[in-house]
Amino acid sequence: MTIVVGYVPTPEGEAALTQAIAEARRSSTTLLVINSSRGDALVDNRYAQEQEIQSIEDRLATQGIDHVIKQPVRGHDAAAEVLDAAEEHNAELIVIGLRRRTPVGKLIMGSVSQRILLEADCPVLAVKAG
């Protein structure tokens, strides 16, 4: 069994990662960190750079958590990548970060979190930034 966390280098993403680490420690399962990019633009600030990944790697290693970090760039959106990973690894839990949004903002934007909440086959834990 695995816990899948969708990570982005933002406060929400950090909150999700922290929560996911706590969950993984509690149930001592493998933590799968997914940080994806559609890869269709030259710049994507939601795609973590090497140093960030390295620091997460260090953080997980020092906490003694069995972990895998993946950064798929395959033209899929973040929701699809997280759902794919959850299915593939038969996840027991998905952890995601949520942004505070007004109903109107929600209407216009359409969201990754919503798709994950609706389509996931396992429990989804949605965290907000502290």
């Binding site: 890869g39 269709d40 030259l42 033209g75």
Partner: protein, 167 residues
């Protein structure tokens, strides 16, 4: 495998030299077929410059071949959005060229609005977009906009083709 591919890569650049040589010979043969009427007002004649260009191309071809065989290598051009670490991605290029050729075949018969839509839609898909329907709408809109823009703004009537009478 690796030695084979590096060997082939070296040979690929010889193709450039071959192309230069062929171009040189072509220019030479073409110039050779020209008639030089004796004329005081034009002592240089139409042949001189082509001969110089042909000679230059052939010399470059030979020197380039020597350079490549000695291990010389042209530096591929970099850029902001260019990553030279992976080889050319033919899975993108060939469909792009396909969309382009389709446009050439269609433009006179089916008209710009249709062929332009095919071109843009095909290119966007070749480049990896997966929003088929949205891209379709954008393509049609762009083709229509340029059709009317060129007609009204620049006074250029792009062919209407099959949609003649509708547009």
């Amino acid at each position: 495998m690796t030695s084979l591919t590096t060997g082939l890569k070296g040979r690929a650049e010889l193709g450039v030299s071959l192309l230069l040589g062929a171009a040189g010979v072509l220019v030479f043969l073409d110039a050779n077929g020209l008639v030089t009427p004796y004329s005081k007002s034009d002592p240089v004649g139409p042949k001189t410059v082509p001969f110089i260009v042909a000679g230059m191309l052939v010399v470059c071809a030979v020197l380039l071949a020597i350079n490549v065989l000695r291990g010389g290598k042209g530096e591929a051009e970099g850029g902001e959005d260019v990553d030279l670490e992976h080889p050319a991605d033919w899975k993108t290029i060939l469909p792009l060229a396909g969309a382009f050729i389709l446009n050439i075949l269609l433009v006179d018969w089916a008209g710009w609005v249709i062929s332009g839509t095919v071109l843009f839609w095909g290119s966007v898909l070749a480049l990896g977009s997966r929003h088929y329907v949205r891209d379709g709408f954008i393509s049609v809109a762009l083709s229509l906009l340029t059709f009317y823009g060129f007609y009204l703004g620049l006074g250029i009537a792009l062919p209407a083709g099959l949609l003649e009478g509708i547009l």
